[in-house]
């Protein structure tokens, strides 16, 4: 089992969510976050002075999948969240030791 953490553009949330649903990947946790990447944000100008806005609003998705679904989900997110411009975000994959469904107490892959 894997955890997929995807940082995407807030305006891409709807299309990504829709596309994930179409591949039967329904469970997702969404958080509004702020962050920055290599470019250190963007520049804004107020009354003639430039300010570096180095933390930009992003959306973080957390998705737990079984190993065989991993590539399909990654592919879907990349396809839907991509614009090709700086600021598209990143995806992180990490292993998950155990999953427990609270309602039934089920464990492992069937609880994902």
């Amino acid at each position: 089992m894997k955890e997929i953490t995807a940082i995407i553009r807030p305006d891409k949330l709807e299309v990504v969510k829709q596309a994930l649903q179409e591949i039967q990947c329904n469970g997702v946790t969404v958080t509004e976050v702020k962050g920055r990447g290599r470019q250190l944000g963007i520049t804004e100008s107020y009354r003639g002075r430039d300010y570096k806005v180095d933390l930009l609003p992003k959306t973080r998705l957390e998705i737990i999948v079984n190993n065989e679904d991993l590539e399909k989900v990654i592919e879907t997110i990349v396809k839907k969240a991509q614009t090709g411009d700086i600021g598209d975000g990143k995806i992180f994959i990490s292993p998950v030791d155990e999953v427990v469904r609270i309602r039934t107490g089920e464990r492992g892959e069937k609880a994902v």
């Binding site: 100008s45 107020y46 009354r47 002075r49």
Partner: protein, 415 residues
Amino acid sequence: MNLKGGKIMDALLNSGDTAWMLTSTALVMLMTIPGVALFYGGLTKKENVLNTIFLSFIAFAITSIIWVVYGYPLAFGTDIMGIIGNPANILMNGIDINALAPLAPTIPFLVYVAFQMVFAAITVALISGAVVERLKFSAWMVFVPAWITLVYIPISHWVWGGGWLAKLGVLDFAGGTVVHLNAGIAALALVLLLGKRKDIKLLPHNLGYSVIGAALLWFGWFGFNAGSALTAGGLAGSAFLVTNTATAAGLISWVMIDIIKTGKPTVLGAISGAIAGLVAITPAAGFVTVGGSIVIGFLVSIFCYFAISTVKTRFGYDDALDVFGIHGIGGAWGAIATGIFAAPFINSLGTGALYGNPGQILTQIIGVLVVVGYTFIMTILIAKVIDKTMGLRVDLKEEVEGLDTHLHEESGYRI
């Protein structure tokens, strides 16, 4: 002045003038709350939005009380040696409701009192923009009555109440010196004592508020300037038109500077230019032609932009929302420009250098220098006393975490 309703006054009351002055008074009230409150509120950090708005609201309330208790008679009562008015009508006692205003003889006395009251209130509220995000609210509650009493009242008497600057011939139609230069200099004096904020970035948390505030200021300013004709006639119409013209010119000018300097037009630049245009035309509104107003509005944005981008950076004072940069500089330019562009065929009371009276420029400069000197020194004195007794500035922790939660136990947003 103790006027009882008499036969002469009944004969002179003009209901058109009175209706316009009541309307103008309400328009000018709207400039402070919510105009100035929103204009400033949108420019601060979100942790300080309520405190910033509150400064304007409390200033309006405190000034309202002072004005009807003793402020009006001291500012506009019978002149005593050019210095101050005779405080005869404390709590408006002795003013018959049908009495007519000595300085505006076609409208009721009490309407004139109210009209002048909203001017006093906006002047002190304007100062708040410089000191936001670090001034103690308690210090502001002491500063407002002290400043109105010791600075605004004498200066409004000198220029408008028949005091010595009026006798000298200083022209100020609606408050270039009394309101804007006065507020701008007081703002500069206060920030010099207060010091810099830990974070001096101007990153508006909600520029939309500021746009609404600026639009309300523009709208209300028709009452401010056209109302200062004190009648509903040709002079009010002329003041109305040049006010709008100068504002539009100021807006366009600032946007052009933005484009030249940074390559992109900005909304904050546009509304800043509009306010600068409004400020500069204020003393000139009842004296100048449409042509004069275009020049006044176009140039003011250049002066203010330079003051904000170069002078402020060079000297490093933390005039947070540029009260000195826009109201101080714009007010001074407007006052001097009145001495250049005042046209006797618009208003027989004012002839400027362009119409053969170069001495008027000197008179205007004297007016500016007097206000700069008096306001600066008195504001420093008032603020020093407050600083020594109760303290002017909040704790560092309160400043960093925001004044709304610390000083008011409220926050502007629950999202």
